[in-house]
Symmetry: D2
Subunit: 147 residues, 4 copies
Amino acid sequence: MTDPLLLRLRLTVRFSDCDPLGHVNNAVYLTYIEQARIELWRRQVGPLSRLRPDGSRGEGFILARAEVDFRSQARDGDELEVRLALGGFGRSSAVYEYEIVDVGSGRLVAEAKTVQAWFDYDANKTVPLTEETKARLSQSFSDIVQA
Amino acid sequence: MTDPLLLRLRLTVRFSDCDPLGHVNNAVYLTYIEQARIELWRRQVGPLSRLRPDGSRGEGFILARAEVDFRSQARDGDELEVRLALGGFGRSSAVYEYEIVDVGSGRLVAEAKTVQAWFDYDANKTVPLTEETKARLSQSFSDIVQA
Amino acid sequence: MTDPLLLRLRLTVRFSDCDPLGHVNNAVYLTYIEQARIELWRRQVGPLSRLRPDGSRGEGFILARAEVDFRSQARDGDELEVRLALGGFGRSSAVYEYEIVDVGSGRLVAEAKTVQAWFDYDANKTVPLTEETKARLSQSFSDIVQA
Amino acid sequence: MTDPLLLRLRLTVRFSDCDPLGHVNNAVYLTYIEQARIELWRRQVGPLSRLRPDGSRGEGFILARAEVDFRSQARDGDELEVRLALGGFGRSSAVYEYEIVDVGSGRLVAEAKTVQAWFDYDANKTVPLTEETKARLSQSFSDIVQA
């Protein structure tokens, strides 16, 4: 990844993340990269858009597309690091790129990419990203987040 | 179970419900019995209490306690039937009892019990069950629900 | 999808498939399409490669890549149909394309694509697909599978 | 809990652990306490019994019963501590008791109890616990495990 790194998240593979083939189930990689996004957004723009006391929900990202390339297997108890980089902004969207690496061995476990649209959850439609919002969404964090 | 049966739900074990031991992960049995409750409540009192347009959430059950006895193993592709029976009402709670049976063999897979409290999600506290609500929550359904 | 349809699978969205945004969590779509693959392979080549009495595991597919485009939201209780079509074979891989449709409304919920490699789980490496295996993996099923 | 504490595990609630009610789904508490058992057993007796190169699986615990009392709600991003204590041994079983506490506030989130049987995964039956095994299963760990 040559793009600016926004966040690094470390997590331990749970036993229940694994399937009868003895490795992390493919769907769970989307959970791992989601967790990196959630932690990023918590820091950049506050908790993910949801119910407020007045019943409104405000603006936030909604996932439009996800891609994962499975490079090697991870197993129960492995410590993984998710690296989230900003691929770029569209008019009302952002692209994130991810690497998931096994911390112990440095081995690449998966690569991923997501496209998310900036969404008005009350009007139920995509809205343009302002320059101010793009600036907040470009903030990067150098500490390693434990999740 | 000698109690009045309220609902029978059939579902197929998903591959991802299973863990590296090759059987349904223990936590997933709580998901199976939850699905039976959800389908029951959908019929008895409408969809589970959640956000309304005005921001209120209304009343509904909240889970207070769950018990599961694991009797035999279930595997990917097995068709299971969850039988939900009414154990009784308290002042502001209900007890449900469950059997989970493998449809193909008739084998008992698990037994479970839950206690749920009737909860005002806006006031954030338990409230008494009215006689009218108890009557609705006693309705039973004789068809087999597919989930 | 113009490709030959191999399997149609119907499933009901579980309450626990949904997240705090009130809709099916993005990762769960990979679970839905996995379930369609599992049911397809169960019919075409027998249960997914795993432990045999002699400790060997044999050959089977391993997932190499997955892509999902999220087209609309699905919610708890929705009945969805997963349509799995054969996109084509490589030397030691196959491409599957998927549509996930809401049965009630006909609305498109998601489109997806996976690439899977034919894998020798004992030798731990990708192996070429024989013509015989390709023929078995091309079998289509016209009934609707309930899962 | 007055019983001897064997392990303390800290974990962060994942967004996908939460359901449309905006809190940790009830089934996920069984995942949290399972993770504490897995980490305990990894230290006491090695990784959980599963496939060996010769196809055998050896002895290990199998879950027989689980109980959870839900005391308060936990939400996305909360850091929780699972405290696992030894309730006692039977002839071929052990009882564990758990408290799940919100680290930030000290608030009790759930209490739980599990009974697990010592199981010969090759012979597919429960076997007695030897004194040596009981001694290993009584080992406690004073550091806080991050998961």
